[in-house]
């Protein structure tokens, strides 16, 4: 019945994808944009690329309004989505590169240099003449990247640049992004699910959830600001009663001989002393909480100061 009803009358619900997201990025910055699925990351990138018209508010990149889609602006940025292809599926990647060269009006010499340099760096020189459909995912992603960089953009919007890549390729991609940022003084805004991407690349992060910015600043600052607990990792010499440990702090895991206890910052020294005195401790480690966990906590609705 429901499906018949929806054939006649469909209900629409207006959902705000981004709401009051406000930030500024300087030239040459490499900023990470993180948040859970559906947080509004990609939407923000789409607005910055001029694909979506913001229903309210103002957007300005390099002094241009993205949604006006001016050629001068379009020649200076590139939007790279890990799951969107622009290469011609049935033709060799080189054909798509040549087409982009003409579309962006890149001079012959620059084109040869860019393609040659990138192909060498990404180790794809021998596959540029192969039909794109016959390439592996990793090879194709590399070619997609080259296609997006033909016009040497000053700004990169990278949406999940490492999605679907194996660990080795992920690392290469990260190295590449870092190099591109350094060499060309390019401004890069990247989104990722992988904390490693962000940790390795970005000094500054913007955390967004349900369309709102939760945090904008130095990655390390997140720890100072939100991590009011530290982790004590204890290795015991003998088996002990699990229940007793609960008194010291929140027991995160206990797998003899190893236990992880979360303790309030202010109580860390007391807790450590207690552990050493009263239990057969073989090893003790005091660490900051993992950044993933802190961010997860931020997302799960902890009050933001």
């Amino acid at each position: 019945m429901g499906s018949i009803r929806s054939l006649v009358k469909r209900k629409h619900r207006l959902v705000k994808a981004v709401d009051g997201v406000s930030f500024e990025i300087d030239e040459g910055e490499l900023v990470g944009f993180i948040g859970p699925n559906g947080a509004g990351k990609t939407t923000t990138l789409k607005v910055l690329s001029g694909l979506l018209y913001p229903s309210s508010g103002a957007v300005s990149v390099l002094g241009y309004i993205p949604s006006e889609r001016k050629t001068v602006y379009q020649k200076q940025f590139s939007l790279i989505m890990g799951q969107k292809n622009q290469l011609w599926w049935d033709l060799p990647a080189m054909e798509s590169f040549i087409l982009n060269k003409e579309i962006y009006e890149v001079p012959d010499r620059d084109f040869r240099e860019t393609v040659g340099g990138l192909a060498e760096l990404l180790e794809v020189e021998d596959i540029l003449k192969v039909q794109v459909r016959k390439l592996s995912l990793g090879q194709r992603m590399k070619c997609e990247l080259i296609a997006a960089l033909i016009h040497s953009p000053k700004i990169l919007f990278l949406d999940e640049p490492t999605i679907g890549l194996d660990v080795v390729m992920q690392k290469k991609m990260r190295d590449f992004i870092r190099e591109y940022n350094r060499q060309k003084r390019a401004t890069i805004l990247l989104t990722s699910h992988y904390m490693d991407d962000v940790k390795e690349l970005c000094k500054r992060v913007i955390i967004i959830d349900r369309g709102k910015i939760l945090f904008d600043g130095d990655l390390l600052e997140i720890i100072e600001r939100y991590a009011d607990h530290k982790l004590l990792t204890v290795v015991f010499a003998k088996k002990i009663d699990e229940k007793k440990l609960v008194k010291i702090g929140e027991l995160r895991e206990y797998n003899f001989p190893r236990a992880v206890i979360s303790v309030k910052r202010s109580a860390v020294s007391v807790a450590a002393a207690e552990l050493l005195q009263e239990y057969p401790v073989a090893d003790l480690n005091i660490e900051e909480e993992r950044i993933e966990d802190i961010i997860r906590e931020v997302f799960s609705g902890k009050e933001i100061a």
Binding site: T42, K46, S49, G50, L51, L52, Y53, R69, T71, Q74, K75, F77, S78, L79, M81, Q83, K84, N85, Q86, W88, D90, L91, E95, S96, I98, L99, N100, K101, E102, I103, Y104, E105, D159
Partner: protein
């Protein structure tokens, strides 16, 4: 300009990837020609005259349909624009310094030229095979009128076609329905299967107020000398009007559509 030359070149190359597809599409047109040819051949005796067409004029009409539709109705934009909007692939074009409509018009042109070459070859062989007795008088004015009408038809079809595909901006899931509807209307009302003179007068008159007969029927009727003088000029002017109308409709809906565009699919 240079970028559109590059698009033409890549598109041309791409056409050759799906050789079998292309051959089958051409085959469909040849089968239709054979079907209508034998139908009229069976119905008409050498001196009969139906719907104002002599036997040789009807044969000429059947052959000209193959030529005209290769030029006017072959358009890869028809198969792709709707899909690109609903899948969000349109985003690839929107971020680049390129005009989406010009892009597809260029790609259509490359396909039309390829189809025209094939239509020429097909007509040559079918002519040898069927030996139609076609004896029509060719007048310069008809030839010029035909060329103009054909050019207008190409443009009308392009804008008509993309405008209907723009429905995808509002109803991404419904592109197939509207594609199919236009396809059927064109088959019936454009004069692809038979000249619209076959229709009852009231229908023929009504159809004139749709863009469809300007795509295939009128160019051929002009070449066959069915229209001349003021009648010819009137049809060319109406054709122009349709082109202008479809152009503005396409531009307007495109602009509105972009405001509504969600760039879905990530």
């Amino acid at each position: 300009m240079k970028k559109y030359v590059a698009i033409f070149a890549v598109s041309w190359e791409n056409e050759f990837v799906y050789r079998l597809n292309f051959v089958l599409w051409r085959f469909r047109n040849v089968v239709r020609l054979l079907l209508t040819f034998f139908l009229w051949k069976g119905l008409l005796t050498s001196n009969s005259n139906v719907f104002g067409y002599s036997k040789s004029e009807m044969f000429a009409y059947v052959f000209l349909v193959l030529l005209v539709q290769s030029l006017v109705l072959s358009a890869p934009s028809a198969d792709n624009v709707g899909g690109e909007i609903s899948s969000g692939d349109l985003s690839n074009y929107l971020v680049k310094p390129i005009d989406y409509l010009k892009y597809w018009f260029t790609r259509d042109l490359s396909s039309k030229i390829l189809n025209l070459v094939f239509a020429g070859v097909e007509i040559f062989f079918l002519w040898i095979l069927l030996k139609p007795d076609i004896g029509i008088v060719f007048r310069i004015s008809s030839g010029v009128g035909f060329a103009i009408a054909l050019g207008l038809a190409v443009v009308i079809y392009f804008f008509l076609n993309v405008t209907t595909k723009f429905v995808a901006f509002w109803m991404p899931e419904n592109t197939w329905g509207i594609t199919f509807l236009t396809l059927v209307l064109i088959e019936m009302l454009a004069g692809v299967i038979f000249p619209i003179d076959v229709m009852p007068v009231w229908l023929k008159t009504t159809v004139q107020f749709t863009p469809f007969p300007y795509l295939v029927y009128y160019p051929i009727a002009i070449l066959l000398g069915k229209l001349s003088g003021w009648g010819l000029i009137r049809i060319l002017l109406q054709s122009c009007a349709w082109m202008i109308l479809m152009f503005f409709a396409a531009k307007l809906i495109w602009k509105r559509g972009l405001f509504n565009y969600q760039s879905e699919g990530r």
